[in-house]
Amino acid sequence: MWNTVGVSVPVLLDTTAAILLLRRHPPAEAEALIRVAKAEIEDGRAFLPAVAVTELLVGEGRPMEAARLTEALTRVPTVLLPVEAARLAGAMGAFLAGEGGPVPLPDLMVAATAAWLDVPLLTWDGDFARSLRLARTSESRHPGAEAWRKLNLHPASRNA
């Protein structure tokens, strides 16, 4: 992924993008996302938000497989959520709550990490695009709405 001044920037992989990579038989419609994710990994530009590590481990209940997953994830570049981004996540959630929508905390942490780092988010969760559209069509001046508007969804993301 390249920014507007031609400098290579990293890409944040949402948990859903990581799950597609983990599938032996991923859905055909996710082919573009998987191709992009693999290219970014090969170039050393793909990062996982820390909450994605949590979500991936929540999804593995088999002890042996959980140990294998944990070990492999220690080698994958991961971004911790700094306190500034945690504040951003809170504001983004307050905006969604004000609009009457669901507020999944992992989504907020993933979105805030991408917005705070100013890097594209590659995701197969269409709710990110929905929240982004909601913020763009809203006239709200809530800081959370502003933060959502700053989110840069990678073009290969679902509904981007």
């Binding site: 859903t16 597609l20 859905p27 050393g44 994958v76 570049p77």
Partner: protein, 73 residues
Amino acid sequence: MRTTLNLDRELLEEAKTALRAASFTEAIETALREVVARARAREGWAELMGSDLSWGSAEELVEYRRRFGARAP
């Protein structure tokens, strides 16, 4: 560790500038760390790809997230 290397001077200068390193030693160490980190990341991803570990599908996780956030104020 002290050692003797035959290096391309121009390349070394360029790497030092690109990495904003204070010395040639720092530039070399930073570049080596980067290479090792990238190799480790590729190994980690290679272990994960096609492993069928974790969630059965991305949709399962999306549903889980929606349930997780459904009780917001």
